[in-house]
Structure formats: C-alpha cells, structure tokens
C-alpha cells in the first residue's frame, strides 16, 4: 500500500474520486440520462473526477461508443442542473465513455465487460477500481450480481463496489432473499444501497443541526417533544409510471425507504464519530426500536388512501384508477399515513406521524417537531390563544422546496397590553449558503467512488425498515378498500385526520 498523498489539503480540496471505472447497467434508461450522467459530468466539471476515469454503459439497445456518447451529450445538456455545459470539457469527458450492448441474462455480456475493464485499466490507469451501478429493473438485481460473480468481476486489482437502486425488495422476505443472493458474490462492505433522500443536503443538515449544536439535543426527547410529523407530499400524479406504481404504492415507494431513513435521522442517537458504520449503527438501532404493529394496531395506526378525480383550479385531474396503465379496480395506496412509536428511553410514548401521497395540494417535504406546551401560561387571561395547545412551539426542518429551518414561538405584540402571538424565526438554507448545492446523485456517486458509505443503507437498516412496514402490508393486502377516498388536490382521507385525533393531535398544514 502506497503512503498517504503528500499533496492533499483537506481544508481546501473538496472530496474527490480516486481513479476508477463505472459500469452502468441500464445505461439507456431514464435514471442514467436524467441523473447519473449529468451528475458524473458535473463532478468532472468540478475537477472531482480524475483523468484516470471511464464509464462503461450497458443496455440491450445496439449502439456504438460514439452513438452512446452523442446520446449522453443530449441528456447532459438537457438535464444538467444549475451548471453550464462546456463543449470542450464534454469532448474530453466523452472520450472516457464506452458502451457494450448485451442482454443481462447472457454470460457473454459479462466476459465482454471483463475484457473491456482489463483494457481500460491499462489505457486509462483506473488501478482496477470498478463501481457497478445497477440501474435496471429490480428483478435483475440478484441475477446481475450473480453473473458479475460468475465472471469473477467482484474481485480485481483494485476495489469493486456495487450500487443498487431502490426498491430493495418488495417485502421483508424478498428483501432478505435479495440480500442473500447478493451476498453470495459480494461482501456487505462492497454493497451500496442507494437512497437518494439521504444524499439531499438538507437531510444531511439534520445531523449537523442535531449534533453540531449544543442547544437542541438536550430538548430532543420525550420530556420536551410532544410528537413529530413528517410530510412528503407530491402535487403530481403517477406521471406515466402507473403500471409500476400500481405494484408499489406509497407505503413501499416512500415510507419503507426514504421516510424511514429520514425518521431514523430524526430519532437516532449521536454517533461517536462521523464515520459510515458508526452513523449507520445508530440509524439501524433506531429503526430496530420501532414498534412492530399487531394487526389490530395497524387498523388504528396506518391509513391507506387513493385519489379520485377532481378539478384543481382550471385543471381537470383524473383519479388514480383512470390513469393510463392502471387497473380500474386497483387497490393501490397513493396515500399512506402511519403512526410509529419508538420503544426506547429517548422516545417512549412520542408518536411519529408520517404521511406521503400523490395529488396532494402542493409539493412539500418537511419535518415538524412539536414541543410540549409551557406547563403554565401566566398570560392566559390577556392572550388566551397564544399558548393554547393549538399554538405550540414548532421546529420545522424543511427538506423541499425551500430548504431551511423555522422555529415558531410566541412573542408579545407591540402595545400596552400583554397580547401574544406566534412568530417564526427562519433560517433559509439558500440565503445563508448561496452556493449551488450538489444534487443527491453527485453526492452519492462521489461517496461510493470514494468508499464512503455513510449515506447508503446497510443490510440491517433495510431489514429493520421492512420489518416495521411488513405487518401494514399484510393487513392492507387482505383489506378491500373503498377507494378512492380522497379527492385529488386535498390533504388525504379523513381517516388520516382521525388517526391523529385519537392522540389529540392534528396534521399541520405545511
């Protein structure tokens, strides 16, 4: 092993990728065009990718290297966010793009990839480091991992890593089977399960907010926090993904993965060091502390919804069952709300309400921490509404669209009396840090190349989140819902409000 790089300056140099090749399976798909290649180009633009770098794309479509380059150029130009496209730089970057057409089930494909990697290792000095990116149909995850192993591509002169997109399984059993299948060929420390929510700057900032400040963590427990609400709302419908979404649903598509990870970020204990396994240990520990619901508890603590047709403004919106490719009798949840409880000392008795859905009034993702009211209000007579339960102190962590943090508290109105009213103290991420934030895929790709798995989910985290979601899936799978139960453009079914009402709470309007 060579010594440390004597030129490194961690104070000033940003994280950079080491020499490597990235092999993308599903390179003709939407994710590659919209996210992966623009992210890699942007990393090259910022000099975070070394000259010793190459990308090998694969899909079934026959294409030459040049045709692939041209296709990727169009995508990068179209989907590059907040960045200039520089033709000169692209020409240099594109020289490192290669393409191999082939069927994922065909062993010949993997031997071609093996030959190409060996060639690139020499010509591009990639030091034998390879990152495999599975941007394919989920049903191929296991077979591709197996085929890579059969071709002995999981080992080489350098490191070998594999990135797997969500969904990681469609229930607990399939997730465990998939883990077993992948582990036959790859060690857990080679597996990077991507959850792009963890790559979002503002989700990472929750850790900085909680553990980088001294004033919040002492309040971050059952003594001071009344409950937590996590909302991930989308105003759009399934947008042509009806066939996929019909099989997935909101609980699988959002809560089992993205929102469970956000929840873990809110509820986890501080890690001793900010290192991948230390942070992931704490996330996993929290997820394992979530109460597993019995079927009767599911009925009280989980609500499924599906949107029906409505007019929103001047737009006539069809219901989910009228979307193209969707079964007119579909029982799919386009809305899911769940109350979770973490059975541990910090959070005993504190409800964590999570809701997500399509065709809700607006696109917003935020986390609201509602604190307990003051034990006694000396101002109650002068200003009865000011400290009533309806006006609690709220800490809101906004993930999108206006990333930031707000703290709501009461303040005296100017004047001779003692009238109080709630005011908001805002920290706006974009205002305080005007610099462009990297996209989640830039962050996550760079981390995977650099071997930093902090923002990737580990087997035990995936297992734990499926474990808490599985009883809900089972109850819902055996229920015939009277869908649709909410109109497009509203905040979900009434049953969701009732779920909170049983604890004396109401959903806030984000």
């Amino acid at each position: 092993m060579a010594d440390a790089n004597p030129f490194n300056d961690p104070l000033r140099f940003e994280k950079r990728a080491p020499p490597c090749a990235v092999v993308i399976f599903g390179a003709n798909g939407d994710l590659t065009k919209r996210k992966l290649l623009p992210a890699l180009y942007r990393l090259a633009y910022e000099r975070r990718i070394p000259p010793s770098f190459a990308v090998i794309g694969n899909s079934r479509t026959a294409m030459s290297d040049d045709q692939f380059r041209e296709k990727m150029r169009e995508s990068v130009e179209k989907f590059l966010e907040d960045s200039p496209f520089e033709a000169d730089l692209w020409e240099s970057f594109a020289k490192n793009l290669f393409y191999i057409a082939g069927d994922l089930n065909d062993p010949k494909l993997y031997s071609e990839i093996s030959d190409k990697l060996a060639e690139i290792e020499k010509t591009h000095q990639t030091a034998g480091n390879v990152l495999f990116y599975l941007s394919t149909q989920p049903s191929y995850y296991g077979p591709v991992a197996n085929a890579l192993g059969a071709a002995d591509l999981q080992h080489g002169n350098g490191w070998r890593r594999i990135i797997i997109e969500k969904p990681f399984g469609h229930d607990l059993t399939s997730a465990r089977n998939l883990n077993d299948e992948i582990h036959q060929k790859f060690e857990e420390n080679q597996v990077y399960r991507i959850d792009h929510y963890l790559g979002k700057e503002t989700v990472q900032n929750i850790l900085a907010f909680r553990f980088g400040n001294g004033i919040f963590e002492p309040l971050w427990n059952r003594r001071y926090i009344n409950h937590v609400q996590i909302t991930a709302a989308e105003s759009i419908g399934v947008e042509g993904r009806g066939a996929y979404y019909q099989e997935a649903g909101a609980l699988r598509d959002m809560i089992q993965n993205h929102l469970a990870q956000v929840l873990a970020t809110i509820g986890m204990e501080p890690a001793a060091v900010f290192e991948a396994n230390a942070v992931r240990d704490e996330r996993a520990k929290f997820l394992r502390s979530l109460r597993i619901m019995k079927p009767d508890a599911v009925l009280k603590n989980a609500v499924a919804g599906q949107y029906g047709p409505a007019s929103i403004g001047t737009e006539e919106v069809v219901g989910f069952r009228q979307e193209p490719g969707v079964d007119p009798q579909a029982q799919t949840d386009t809305y899911a709300a769940v109350t979770f409880f973490a059975d541990n000392w910090r959070w005993a008795g504190v409800p964590f309400y999570i809701r997500t859905g399509k065709r809700l009034p607006k696109r917003v993702t935020d986390i609201a921490i509602q604190f307990n009211p003051a034990p006694h209000s000396p101002f109650a007579a002068a200003s009865p509404g000011a400290t009533a339960p309806g006006r609690p102190n709220l800490l809101i962590l906004r993930i999108q669209p206006e990333e930031g943090i707000s703290l709501r508290f009461v303040s005296k109105e100017p004047g001779s009396g003692m009238q109080l009213r709630p005011v908001s103290m805002d920290f706006n991420y974009g205002t305080s840090f005007g610099a462009r934030s990297p996209t989640a895929y830039e962050t996550l790709l760079l981390d995977a190349m650099a071997g930093d798995a902090t923002l990737y989910t580990r087997q035990d985290m995936v297992d734990a989140s499926w474990t808490v979601v599985q009883p809900i899936l089972e109850v819902w799978g055996n229920t015939k819902f009277d869908f649709p139960n909410y109109a497009a453009g509203t905040w979900g079914p009434k049953a969701s409000d009732d779920m909170l009402a049983q604890h004396g709470h109401t959903w806030r309007v984000p």
């Binding site: 300056d9 000033r12 080491p18 020499p19 090259a44 000099r47 000259p51 205002t431 005007g434």
Partner: protein, 330 residues
C-alpha cells in the same frame, strides 16, 4: 436604498441609528409594494479597506456578489485623496431576490470615507459598529492602511485578516509583513495562496492513484513554468511562485525549478511538470481549461479564471488557521 450621515455627526451611534432607519424604511417600502417582506441576513462583519474610486467600484461589485453566499454587515473604509473631505459615512442595503422566491434578502453596508488626515479615526469608528457576537474578517486591500499603526487595534478584534500579496510593490517585503502578523498570533490569509488552490488540487488528484503515488519516491524534478513581464531575480520573485515552490518542497524532497516561458503583463503559473525515471505528469494551464497529462494519458479539465469574489468565498469558508499555508510561508 441609502441613508447619508452629516459629516459632523459621524459617530458609531449615529451610524447604527441610520442602519435602524434603513431597515425600517425597507420594511415599509416593501409592505407598500405588497411583497413577502425583506429578510435581513448577516453571518459576520466583513471590513474592507480600499483606496481610490476605481478600487471602491470594483470592491462594491465583489461584495455585492459575495453577499449571496456570505451575508454580512460590510464596512468599507475608503481613503479619499481630497483632503477637504474629512470623514463621511453612508449606509445602504444590498438586496437581491433569489430565483423563484418572493422575499428579498438584504445585507447592510456601511461606507466610511476619510481623508488622509482622518485615517486614524477609522478604526475607532469601526469598533463601535461591528455586528455583535459574529466573526469579524478584515479584507485589507490597501497596503498603506494595513501598515498604518492606527489599524493595530482593529487587527486585535479580527478573526481573520485577508491580504493579497500580489498587489504589494515588494513581494519579499509582503511575505515578511505577513510573517510578522502570523508571529504576532494573527490568522492571516493571502489571496496569492488562494489562487493556487485549483492548481494544487489538480496536482494532488494525480496522486490519488495508488500506482502513481508509489512513483512519488522516484520523482527527480519539478518544473514550474510561469508567464510574466520578465524573468525575475531572487528578491523580486512573485509570491505565487514562492508559495508553489514552497508547497512542493514541503511535500517532496526534490529540486523545484522555475522557468520563464512567455511574456504577459502579470506573473502567473502557466504549467507544472513532474518527472522521474518512469513517470511524467504535467499540467498545462490555458484560458479556462487545463490539460492534465499523466504518462501520456491526457484529459482537459475546467479551470475557470478566479476573481476576488471566488477567492474571498473560499477564504471566508475557512474558519481557523490553514496549517499548510503556515508551513509554506515559513
């Protein structure tokens, strides 16, 4: 929006009162327009010293851009060559509307002008108008003001002093001047060093590759090519070349040569070559690109020209002392 202070009333309380009025007026004006209000943003006090009108204009543009990322209370201290000007101050707001938002973000700026004879009054005035409980950074653009003894008490209160030795008449003197500050316990940054970050990062990236890094021990020679008016003598060596040479020497025990290549108005690094028996790497700097070659494998990388705003952005993001810079300045 601006508010002017009469010369006879130039004192901290009056400037702070003008600031208060400025914010109140901004709020009223905004509510008349029915917009979503003004957000006052401030993360530090940034003090800039400037000389002459042209300098003031360029500083104004730099600061306006810088505020988006480092919102601050900016205090610009300007020396007015007109001796009758005395001491004057005005306050105004730097506002912008972020794309897609309805709320304006505003920072406050205080410009104090002083004739030569009133320079000594500037530091005392500034002491009373710094934003409380926030870091204070001094961007010392004027060599003369930096050397003025009256400014010593201001240096005491700043977390960081940012200078640009490339603008000093005597490079060797500039380095000694900065060394003096550092030995006095001050945290000093030099933009001539900051300008080298991209080129240093590019060199460093070459050695991220373990195979390449293994060749470091066999490296025999580093050649730094530079453009500039002429070949310089030892006493007139531009600080950027001094720093780069020192950085290589800090990292490696090899000969570091300097080579004058072409004539340009200002001294700047134009290329770097690292050579050993079985290894050659080079970085050739062009307009806004660089050609990086490692053992015949070449790649172009973006290499944008950096302005003061980019350099300050980098420096303001670094809290505390830069240990590598300290080692390089010696």
């Amino acid at each position: 929006m601006t508010a002017s202070t009469k010369p006879e009333q130039i004192k901290p309380e009056k400037i702070l009162k003008d600031l208060q009025k400025l914010w109140s007026d901004l709020g009223k004006e905004d509510s008349r327009k029915g917009s979503a209000g003004v957000l006052r943003a401030c993360a530090m006090t940034l003090i800039a010293t400037v000389e002459g009108d042209a300098d003031a204009q360029s500083v104004g543009e730099t600061i306006a851009n810088l505020m988006h990322q480092h919102p601050s209370r900016v205090i610009v201290m300007r020396v007015n060559p007109d001796e009758t000007a005395g001491l004057d101050a005005r306050v105004f707001a730097q506002c912008w509307m972020p794309f897609g938002r309805r709320q304006q973000i505003c920072c406050e700026e205080i410009e104090i002008t002083a004739s030569q004879s009133r320079i000594a009054d500037l530091p005392k005035l500034v002491l009373g108008i710094m934003a409380p409980d926030l870091p204070v950074v001094l961007w010392c653009r004027s060599e003369k003001l930096c050397r003025d003894p009256a400014f010593q008490q201001l240096f005491e209160l700043t977390e960081k002093i940012i200078m640009d030795s490339s603008g000093f008449a005597d490079p060797l003197g500039a380095l000694n001047f900065i060394r003096g500050f550092i030995s006095g316990g001050r945290n000093v940054a030099d933009l001539a060093w900051t300008r080298l970050t991209h080129v240093r990062a590019t060199i460093s990236q070459i050695f991220e590759n373990e195979n390449t890094r293994a060749r470091l021990k066999t490296l025999e020679r580093v050649t730094i090519s530079y453009a500039g008016p002429t070949q310089f003598g030892l006493e007139t060596m531009p600080t950027c070349l001094y720093y780069l040479q020192a950085w290589f020497r800090d990292a490696l025990s090899v000969a570091v040569d300097l080579q004058h290549t072409d004539a340009r108005p200002n001294y700047e690094v134009s290329g770097i070559r690292l050579e050993g028996p079985a290894f050659v790497a080079s970085v050739e700097l062009q307009e806004s690109m660089a050609e990086v070659t490692v053992n015949q494998l070449s790649r172009r990388v973006s290499f944008p020209k950096l302005g003061d705003c980019d350099l300050l952005r980098e420096e303001l993001s670094i809290v505390g002392v830069d240990p590598i810079y300290r080692r390089c300045i010696g």
